[in-house]
Symmetry: C2
Subunit: 317 residues, 2 copies
């Protein structure tokens, strides 16, 4: 039996853009959006909206900025809603037009727990412009419980539509997902909860299923798992798992064939030992990404040396 | 808190051998065994024991046969016990010497549910020779419930030490693992239960954890997931997850560095769309393996065409 409340958000372009600096050709993003429409995916997240005073369009692809005119070239208003992510501290409030004039339906606000006031401020702004809103609390595996509880209490007082449980480092096992899902559900009455998992320990899909079992309704995936480092829960596995008759795997298979096999061979996201180690140690993937890059450039540092560095209690963390 | 009852069985050479026809050099298997000893792994499965009248040593590597003298060149009696697998219908009973004279400690017997009588017969034989024994019931995702129940009832009457829940096709979600783990536990009182998962849907490690939560104590992994098609639960993730102080990840990292990065680049097991599709459809990976091979040889068949073939209700299954 399916639950119509469950929504798939495909974040391939937004999260995958971390692997290619958001340099996806417009024709490809247009194809991808159309494929997601045919697959019945509920939201297509087509990038970030960052401040051009902080990041230059000369140095980054268009999906780092998601200008309205760029979005309109690849997407349109339909049952697959366009989502864009804003980071706290990197958003020019003035670039956000009213939802009624935009092709964007949902604005997702990402922040750390310690920045939750800034996150709520930005979320209130986009909400006042008529968008569906989310708050994505990043890296909650690193917070002390009272800090997280306080943030959730603050968020409970807002009008945000969806609050995301984010496993930024790919650290959680099913046990932690169950615990935090229960916490989010109980501390945020009346709010929808979402989940966003990374695949450092090959648990992104499994943890997303566990979240669904715990009545979390918004689930993030990316096509072929494209995303930084180990990547994400895959959209194709979600489409295959979920029973809503509107979901169709077939259009996404075609996208994978056409674009993602080649991109993955070149950009190489996915399960690798350096990401598995940062995940298991509850660390940001940064040192893993640096290590993988150095090895591709000929570094002879071994996995053991890398592991010893990351587990050295005397090292600066 | 850790449970000393939990045992890791590394089946890299046995299951990974399906990818290279068991052509692992002896020096490598020796290194691997020593690494598993240092990692605290409980069992190292070094291959199959198949009948040389059925398979010629000219056509297959030594770990297809696991002659006593070959095993003794790479392994020795210690806390990491040597395991070898026998398939029903492919085993020459006369080649099995008494356990007291062998470096092998455990013989695992693999069979389908419909062959359970043959499996029990072979298991009784190796048990009578003094080995630890298992029965690995393959592909139980394809059996009707009464068939499985009958097989388990027969097995309950035997002296087998461990009965394995095997997800041969990588089809199960946590829900099915929970259900079957409960069934095996209740139908096989006093027996240890093991689990062997495949990674077609990126759930091998997750499902192994779920099995552990359900008090299954014998868990299979292979280094870097090496195994047919999508591969297996990885040994490194098990070593990182389990809390027994004797388990050490570090020696396995060194093995991965030295051997498995290069082997995976060449042999290419792991998550791929054709295996994900057979897994999600509860089918043997055979058509996926054939498709992947044909694509590498230049075939232009698309994922969609492959999917359509496998889901065509009129096609011979």
């Amino acid at each position: 039996m399916y639950y119509p409340e469950i929504k798939i958000l495909d974040c391939t372009i937004r999260d995958g853009g971390l692997m290619n600096n958001w340099q996806f050709p417009k024709e490809m993003v247009k194809d991808l959006f159309q494929g997601l429409v045919e697959a019945g995916v509920d939201y297509a997240e087509l990038g970030y909206r960052v401040d051009k005073k902080m990041f230059s369009p000369k140095d980054h692809g268009p999906w780092r900025f998601c200008d309205e005119e760029d979005l309109r070239e690849v997407a349109y208003k339909c049952d697959t809603k366009v989502s864009v992510m804003c980071d706290v501290g990197r958003t020019d409030y003035d670039t956000i037009i009213p939802a009624s004039e935009s092709v964007i339906s949902m604005m997702r606000v990402a922040c750390y727990v310690k920045e939750v006031d800034k996150g709520i401020h930005l979320m209130n702004h986009v909400k006042s412009l008529g968008y569906e809103t989310t708050l994505n609390l990043m890296a909650v595996s690193t917070n002390l419980e009272p800090e997280l509880d306080e943030a959730l209490a603050q968020i409970a007082e807002t009008d945000v539509d969806v609050v995301y449980l984010v496993d930024s480092f790919g650290y959680f096992y099913s046990e932690q997902i169950h615990y935090l899902a229960d916490k989010y559900k109980s501390k945020l009455p009346g709010k929808e909860i979402g989940v966003h998992c990374h695949d450092n320990q090959l648990l992104a899909f499994a943890n997303t299923i566990e979240a669904i079992i715990k009545n979390i309704h918004y689930v993030d995936g990316s096509i072929f798992g494209m995303g930084r480092g180990a990547g994400n829960c895959t959209t194709e596995l979600l489409l295959s798992f979920l029973k809503n008759p509107k979901y169709r795997l077939r259009p996404v298979l075609s996208l994978i064939d056409k674009y993602f096999i080649e991109m993955k061979a070149k950009l190489q996201w996915g399960y690798e030992i350096p990401y598995m180690i940062t995940g298991s140690l509850n660390k940001h993937p940064r040192p893993g990404i640096a290590f993988v890059k150095q090895r591709r450039e000929g570094s002879k540092q071994s996995f053991q040396e890398y592991y010893d560095t990351l587990t050295d209690i005397d090292a600066v963390d």
